[in-house]
């Protein structure tokens, strides 16, 4: 009986996992669209000016930006993952 229950539970995990992933993707897509509209739109021109005028500073700023965004997105996805309970299925 116990084994049967376990089989039923593990059978339901992939379904739940896919559902939670879809929910995470929807929430994430909304936040990313907001990010495109608010931040990237206003960052485009100052970054271009930096690229044209000072390449060494542009190189440093590029590295900082990509790592910083990596940290922020990792935190954000981790938070969403926890919030919708996907972490339990890791």
């Amino acid at each position: 009986m116990g084994q049967d229950n376990r089989q039923i539970n593990t059978k339901h995990i992939p379904k739940r996992l896919v559902l939670n992933l879809i929910i995470e993707l929807i929430i994430y897509s909304g936040l990313v669209t907001l990010y495109f509209l608010v931040i990237l739109r206003y960052l485009n021109e100052p970054i271009k000016i930096l690229f044209d005028n000072n390449l060494p500073v542009y190189a440093i700023v590029s590295l900082i930006l990509i790592v910083l965004q990596g940290v922020l997105l990792e935190r954000l996805t981790f938070y969403i993952l926890n919030w919708i309970g996907l972490k339990r299925f890791e």
Binding site: L40, N44, L55, A59, L63, I66, V67, T77, E90
Partner: protein
């Protein structure tokens, strides 16, 4: 969306989608995915010089996200990764120098291209046969998936070479010569510098077969090493004006979530099964480059 640095207009959702696809591959297999992202970015209309530099920039961010996730899962050997990075960076420079000297003799593109195809085919065939043998060993002998390596003699023979200093790597559960680790880093870095690809597709198999690192830890440690090697490449290309950081930032929005999904998915696969799936990546890389060489594109 118009990207002012490279002067192209590309739909950000398309870029984010490419990032998502490459992110899943990167998080699952521990590779940068440049051999897939590069051609896809080129198809969007980006100039080739920007493709290389921008891909490296997005790879830096994506590897950071995936490595953090693998670290939470206990799959990153930081000590091993840091030592390997030293060899990799020296190797990248050596590979780039070799490429420069070959350029003077002409026909360098054909030579480099077919060398790449040959190396990728050798890696793909070797991993395919090895992982099939390993899955058979698990089935027949009922041993742990972590212990099952199809050609165990190879790593045993290499581990017999005990040139001091010997270093313990508790996370990977191995003891290896410093020189073996540095050489693995150097060789994969040299191939990256010479062939113009990230070293992950070469380094991950070398970590498993030559140093004897368990597959899951090899993936996480490789991603950790890619942060530094791709970061170094990004800086170097940005100084030459080959990086459109805005495109890389947009790609990273998709790659970040893809990398996490890929990293989490590794928990549901055994080492030999991951290696079996991995063996198709070098084949894909080889086919893409062979097609480009034959068609002259």
């Amino acid at each position: 969306m118009e990207f002012l640095i490279s002067g192209v207009t590309i739909n950000p959702i398309l870029l984010s989608g490419i990032g998502f696809l490459v992110g899943i591959l990167g998080g699952f297999f521990g590779v940068g995915g440049g051999f897939i992202a590069g051609p896809l970015m080129f198809l969007t209309g980006m100039p080739m010089n920007f493709v290389v530099g921008t891909d490296l920039a997005h790879m830096t961010g994506k590897s950071f996200v995936a490595a953090r996730r693998h670290r939470v899962l206990g799959h990153v050997d930081i000590k091993l990764g840091l030592i390997m990075v030293i060899g990799t960076i020296i190797g990248v420079e050596a590979g780039a120098q070799l490429l420069e000297s070959l350029k003077q003799s002409g026909h360098v593109d054909q030579f480099v291209g077919w060398t790449y195809v040959f190396i990728m085919l050798v890696i793909g065939i070797f991993m395919f046969i090895e992982s099939l043998r390993a899955t058979q060993i698990i089935r027949n002998q009922r041993i742990s998936a972590n212990e099952a390596v199809g050609f165990k003699r190879l790593s045993r023979r290499i581990n017999v070479i005990r040139i001091p200093p010997m270093i313990s790597f508790p996370v990977s559960g191995i003891r290896s010569s410093l020189w073996t680790v540095l050489l693995v880093g150097f060789f994969s870095g040299a191939l990256a510098g010479f062939l113009g690809v990230g070293g992950g597709v070469v380094r991950m198999p070398m970590l498993v077969y030559i140093i004897g690192v368990p597959t899951h830890i090899a993936i996480g440690t490789d991603l950790f090493a890619i942060i530094f090697s791709a970061g170094y490449g990004t800086f170097s290309h940005a100084l030459k004006g080959n990086v459109d950081i805005m495109i890389a930032l947009v790609m990273l929005t998709g790659a970040a979530i893809g990398a996490q999904i890929g990293a989490i998915s590794t928990r549901n696969f055994t080492g030999p099964h991951i290696r079996l799936l991995f063996s198709f990546l070098p084949f894909m890389g080889a086919i893409l480059v062979a097609y480009k060489l034959i068609s002259g594109g």
